[in-house]
């Protein structure tokens, strides 16, 4: 229906244009026939504009573009510039048609960007498979996803195996294999096999609806540029209109020899330029394009304001574990003394088996066998030191150097150890040490380098880990500064201190995993959470969510932000400059109505075309 209306308008405008050409060709000066021909063309082209102007005035709304255009063109008729009057209306209409088309197109491309909404779910009900709307599926119902179909709701695989493509959610094109027991996220596409799964979340709570919701509503948090333009438009139009009126009537009354027709013409030029459309449309469009494009790359930005602020980033503060490193601790080295490596691992794993600290978990994983709880008793954990426990009737002490010293056991510190060292003693006899370390993420080094290239002044790492480990990781990655051995509360304090070091306009970004750093995420100008896919906590806490585990996406986000801002500034500058120049020339009597049409419609179209570039963010690495 929308298209039909546009087509109708197009046909009407074309007929009007034909009549207009006819009127020009057959033009005779001072002939009533010519006036009628031009009037006919004018009414065919601009009848609806006149009608809307009248209707809006009746509604008490005066300064709208319909009214301004009507006034400008009627004025031109009265002054005797028939051809120009019709031309203004004609180009205004062509411009409007084009603008509508451009807006429609960009709305379509945005809809396409967000085309991850599943259309249906195959639900097992009784003995049959029913195709229903994902909204109607309840938790714990069984769904079947065939190859090529989109996963409709978050679910867990019961049977079947396949690989799924999560690129629409994460931008990651490598498919992931899933089998029984694995979680399936809605929005992914099932590539190869038939999968039966049990629904874990209702549609409204599922990943795909959360992402869609977030991206669609991102435009609601407006950027400073958008607020500026809205405010600016509120002053711009009335001021230009008032100047137009003054220009039309004051000089002819005051200046000797000035004619009304000349000065009214100049005033009319002002009226034509008085609409701020170019800015009002193109700027939200740029932001929306940027946010939509970022979401395609697995970066969810919760508002235009955050996308705007990101371009001003000066300091980026990283949490270490889970952000720059994988957060997965692994046993790197076993250094036994007097017993076998397997035995050492076994007694350490047993002693630590009551703790769920990542270090203990990695010991148990390396040990690889089930823990027989009957063999352990008398577990005693000393925070910051380690554990002592009875294993098979022997006293095992497992912990750091402090624990060994406290127990008065001589130990050897492994040389150049990077990571956490667990010393183990059995009945007071030193049995060796186990080295456990976290691994740096593959793209972490590149991420830091790209951030530097993007103009970030300082990269800082905060960690609760030992100085030695923190400094080693930071040195390897090329961070500017590192603060180690911090408690969670210290992190907020350090971030507070860093705030003092940035310039007033600069922004401080904190990057964490969103799980235990919510206070810092909230305190920073922009909080970025990593690995958001499937983690509600991360999505809740942060302003920007990186769906994958890749820190290099932060640099991508900053590049998208900078490009968006550049387009926005180009548009503001270009539109205001052209308008100002034409207004000035118009006031001096140099610019014609044609220049005014360009300053209004032409600039709007160019600004929109410039903004549309933002929808194609594939070009940004």
């Amino acid at each position: 229906m929308k298209l039909n209306e546009n087509q109708k308008r197009l046909i009407k405008t074309l007929i009007g244009a034909a009549v207009y050409v006819l009127a020009i060709v057959t033009r005779r000066e001072d002939s009533i026939y010519s006036l009628i021909a031009f009037l006919a063309a004018y009414l065919i082209i601009g009848g609806d504009v006149l009608w809307r102007a009248v209707r809006n005035i009746l509604h008490g709304k005066v300064f709208d573009e319909n009214f301004l255009m009507s006034l400008a063109t009627i004025g031109a008729f009265i002054v005797g510039d028939f051809a120009e009057a019709v031309a203004v209306m004609l180009f205004y209409q062509v411009g409007e048609l084009f603008q509508d088309y451009a807006v429609d197109q960009s709305r379509k491309s945005i809809a396409e960007l967000m085309n991850i909404r599943p259309d249906f779910a195959n639900v097992q009900r009784g003995d049959t498979l029913v195709k229903v709307d994902p909204d109607e599926v309840k938790v714990d119902e069984i769904i079947v996803i065939k190859p090529g179909e989109r996963v409709p709701l978050d679910a867990v695989v019961l049977s079947g195996s396949s690989s799924v493509d999560a690129s629409a959610l994460t931008g990651e094109s490598l498919p992931r294999d899933v089998e029984a027991g694995d979680a399936l996220l809605s929005g992914c596409i099932n590539i190869s096999g038939l999968v039966t799964a049990r629904v874990t979340k209702e549609y409204g709570e599922s990943t795909v609806s959360k992402i869609l919701d977030l991206v669609e509503n991102a435009g609601n948090k407006k950027s400073q540029s958008e607020n500026f333009i809205t405010k600016f438009a509120g002053y711009y139009t009335p001021i230009v209109v008032i100047i137009a009126v003054l220009l039309a009537f004051i000089p002819p009354l005051v200046v000797p020899g000035a004619t009304f027709s000349d000065w009214i013409y100049r005033g009319l030029i002002f009226l034509v330029i008085s609409c701020p459309c170019a800015l009002v449309i193109s700027i939200p469009l740029s932001f929306f394009g940027g946010i939509g494009g970022a979401s395609r790359r697995g970066i969810l930005v919760k508002g235009s304001n955050y996308l705007e602020a990101l371009a001003e980033t000066e300091i980026i503060v990283f949490d270490k574990t889970g952000t720059l490193t994988k957060g997965i601790f692994q046993v790197q080295q076993v250094l036994p003394e007097g017993i076998s490596a397997d035995e050492l691992l076994e007694i350490a794993a047993y002693a630590e088996s009551y703790s769920n600290h990542p270090i203990s978990l990695s010991l148990q994983k390396a040990y690889g066998k089930a823990i027989d709880a009957a063999r352990i008793s008398g577990v005693e954990e000393t925070s910051g030191h380690g554990v002592t426990a009875q294993v098979d009737g022997k006293t095992i002490a497992a912990g750091n150097a402090k624990l060994m010293r406290r127990l008065g056991i001589a130990f050897t510190e492994p040389e150049n150890a990077i990571g956490t060292v667990v010393h183990v003693a059995q009945d007071g006899v030193y049995r060796g040490s186990i080295l456990i370390a976290d691994e740096v993420k593959e793209d972490a080094k590149r991420a830091i380098r790209e951030l530097k290239e993007a103009g970030i002044r300082q990269t800082v790492m905060l960690t609760g880990d030992a100085k030695r480990i923190g400094e080693r990781v930071s040195g390897e990655l090329g961070l500017d500064r590192v603060y180690t051995e911090l408690l969670p509360a210290d992190k907020v304090e350090k971030v507070e201190a860093l705030f003092a070091e940035k310039s007033p306009r600069g922004k401080l970004v904190f990057v964490g995993d969103g799980i235990n750093d919510a206070p810092v995420l909230a305190r920073a100008d922009i909080g970025i959470a990593m690995g958001g896919l499937g983690s509600d906590a991360a999505i809740e806490a942060a302003d920007i969510v990186i769906m994958t585990d890749e820190p290099s996406k932060i640099a991508t986000a900053i590049r998208i932000s900078k490009k968006t801002l550049r387009i926005v500034k180009e548009n503001i500058f270009f539109a205001l400059l052209v308008k100002a120049v034409v207004l000035l020339l118009g006031a001096l009597g140099i610019a014609s109505m044609w220049a005014a049409i360009f300053a209004d419609v032409g600039v709007a179209i160019l600004a929109i075309l410039n903004s549309i570039r933002m929808l194609n963010v594939k070009s940004i690495k």
């Binding site: 709304k61 573009e65 807006v103 709305r107 669609e216 809205t230």
Partner: protein, 73 residues
């Protein structure tokens, strides 16, 4: 509470700004936002007065942009 509706046929960005401005000034509305690209109007306001607010918001849209149809999202 939050209420979302669609503004079908919204094709003027400055009108979108005017609608947003007028609706956010309504009694009982704490925040209102028009998203020109998704043509969505989001109103946050007192739950007990939401029907009244919606009625007034629809009237505002009708007045500012008579060609736009307010539809439930």
């Amino acid at each position: 509470m939050k209420k979302v509706c669609r503004l079908d046929g919204l094709d003027c960005a400055s009108c979108a700004a005017k609608i947003e401005n007028a609706v956010s000034k309504l009694d009982g509305v704490s925040a209102a936002s028009v998203n020109f690209m998704t043509t969505k109007l989001v109103i946050e306001g007192e739950e007990s007065r939401m029907d009244e607010i919606m009625e007034q918001a629809t009237a505002i849209v009708k007045k500012l942009e008579p060609d736009v149809v307010v539809r439930k999202a």
